[in-house]
């Protein structure tokens, strides 16, 4: 447990710090692992503190078309989990300090063996786990294993989650709580539902654990308005789409294009 309390994710808000964060999402290995590592460095230089790394899966259920396409393309090139871990290790060895959350389907975790997977993820340099297809019932045995491996198990709450269950999930979530602003798949929306703000406010009253909001956030204005009530905004499809736009170009141009967009988004939390 102490490991988790001290890790890079918990560190962002430790001692009651009122940090507001922008958490970009990257598909591991898209369009290459070199690009993933270069983007992490660029984000860090710009002031990002936490990044989500999505592990490509053949059968994603929660991901929209943009992220799904990035998964498919990456898997077609033959990306293996061990290569992702090696790239993250490389990023750490070169001094990378971003808090990193590994977003992954439980299908992959289970196949590798839960304990083995957690040990490998931790030693590679991850700080937390986001397993979207592992709801409360199934997570109750997973969370202590993650904690003892030194990984925060970040749990998700949906707009469809009933009030009582929301409190129970909040109680089991480590690092922060991932509030999904939309009942649906990931993907860009211009604006978020009005209900999101009040739902997050309610959740904030129920828990001391930080709350980050994701699904559908695509611009700095939304980041700013969400961060008036939440502790952070997670941006996925909008970033992956920028990678897709630039992916055929040289690495430096990909980083420039995507980095500039993240720089734009960061204005929402300044």
């Amino acid at each position: 447990m102490s490991d988790v309390a001290n890790n890079r994710i918990s560190g962002i808000w430790s001692g009651g710090a009122k940090a507001k964060i922008l958490a970009p999402f990257l598909t591991a290995g898209y369009p290459s692992l070199d690009a993933t590592v270069a983007l992490l460095r660029d984000f860090e230089r710009r002031g990002v503190r936490l990044c989500e790394i999505g592990i490509p899966f053949s059968d994603p259920i929660a991901d929209g078309p943009v992220i799904q396409a990035s998964f498919t393309e990456t898997l077609e090139k033959g990306l293996k989990l061990s290569q992702v871990f090696a790239a993250i290790r490389q990023y750490r060895e070169q001094g990378g300090q971003l808090a990193l959350a590994c977003m992954i389907s439980y299908s992959i975790v289970f196949r590798h063996g839960v304990k083995q997977f957690l040990a490998d993820a931790k030693s590679a340099g991850f700080d937390g786990m986001i397993v979207p297809d592992l709801p409360l019932e199934e997570a109750k045995t997973f969370e202590p294993l993650a904690s003892s491996a030194g990984l925060a198990n970040i749990m998700l709450i949906a707009p469809t989650t009933p009030a009582e269950r929301r409190v129970e999930i909040a109680r089991h979530s480590r690092g922060f709580i991932y509030y999904m602003s939309i009942a649906g798949i990931t993907g860009e929306r211009d604006r978020l539902p009005e209900a999101t703000i009040s739902a997050v406010q309610e959740l904030k009253r129920e828990t001391a654990t930080p709350v980050c909001v994701g699904f559908g956030i695509s611009n700095a204005a939304t980041v700013a308005s969400i961060c008036q009530v939440a502790d952070g905004a997670i941006v996925g499809s909008a970033i992956v789409r920028r990678i897709t736009e630039a992916k055929a170009k040289p690495l430096a141009e990909i980083v420039g294009h995507v980095g500039a967009f993240v720089g734009e988004l960061l204005k929402g939390v300044e």
Binding site: S107, D133, P135, L156, I157, A158
Partner: protein, 402 residues
Amino acid sequence: MTTSKFSHMPVGGYFGPYGGQFVPETLMAALHQLETQYRSALADEAFTRELDRCYREIAGRPSELYFAKRLTEHCGGAQIFLKREDMNHTGAHKINNTLGQALLTLRMGKKRVIAETGAGQHGVATATVAAVFGLKCDVYMGSEDIRRQALNVFRMKLMGANVVPVTSGQCTLKDALNEAMRDWMGSVEHTHYIIGSVAGPAPFPEMVREFQSCIGRESRRQMLETVGRLPDVLVACVGGGSNAAGMFAPMIDDAQVAMVGVEAGGRGTKLGDHAATLTAGSPGVLHGAKSYVLQDPDGQTALVHSVSAGLDYPGVGPEHSYWKDTGRVHYTTCTDNAAIDALVLLSRTEGIIPALESSHAVSEALRLAPTLGKDKIILVCLSGRGDKDANEVAEILKRRGE
């Protein structure tokens, strides 16, 4: 409920170590609602009476038990009986399940249903109940299956359903299921997802088995009435496993009845050339449940192949995984070619053109019969009829020079 060594009632959504609910939190409220409504419906006499009426008046149940005399003579061994699910309205066992779930949809006050389909039989059965009960209906179907099951696509459209082509992955059943799940993520408040097999998160595996159990309950009664005893062996094909579960479950405690599930052996034993999940796979998580899965070592779902669109699936219902591990059911495979041979033979000896899926079960019965004495009885679940496969089979036979 009777207590059984093979646990008819899953514990907390689990059959032994298999099952569970590995889905995004967004869907959990709907699964809880479904579970509550399903339990209360089963205990509600008005619901079961209405379901019985639908089975009778819409599906045309009970389906016949048929002694395949000429096929039996041809094989020269055990007597082969067929449970004629092919005679059901819409041509397969799938209607049993969609009737049950449509009534639940009405009970939950939802106005729209969605479904995934491979062979198109489940899609047709869903489109049918949507028309009967005035529900809006979207059916997800892989573009490859749309090609090979054109007749069923037309039937669905004719009945007012919208067929949504799925072009991700292998463009077959697994991908259609992904897309239906994604739809449900965003539509769960007003939409019920009618899963077509005993797969998916709890309570689907148990619920679909229950709605399909009319197959085994009728068979049990019909055997006792016509022959005076239960069969020695049950044979059913296994895609997701719903016709097999519906046939097996009501006789699972009859220890004298052996059971064989037949998976798609495809064109070979290499990963990617078949869909023999229980025979060649290993425990994993796919589409919301822990069960046997065909995966690569990294946890990615493997490619699968079968001549039959309804068996072309890399997963299987969790209860089958449990039955496999406990040894209650034996699982085997039948190749594409052997299935085609069985289809031709049944057509010629009995005037019954079986679905390609069901032909896998017929083929296993042909193999078994000569190894058993003439006093033995094999009961095959003939899950569907072959009209939908006519074009595909014609092409294959032409290629084989027949």
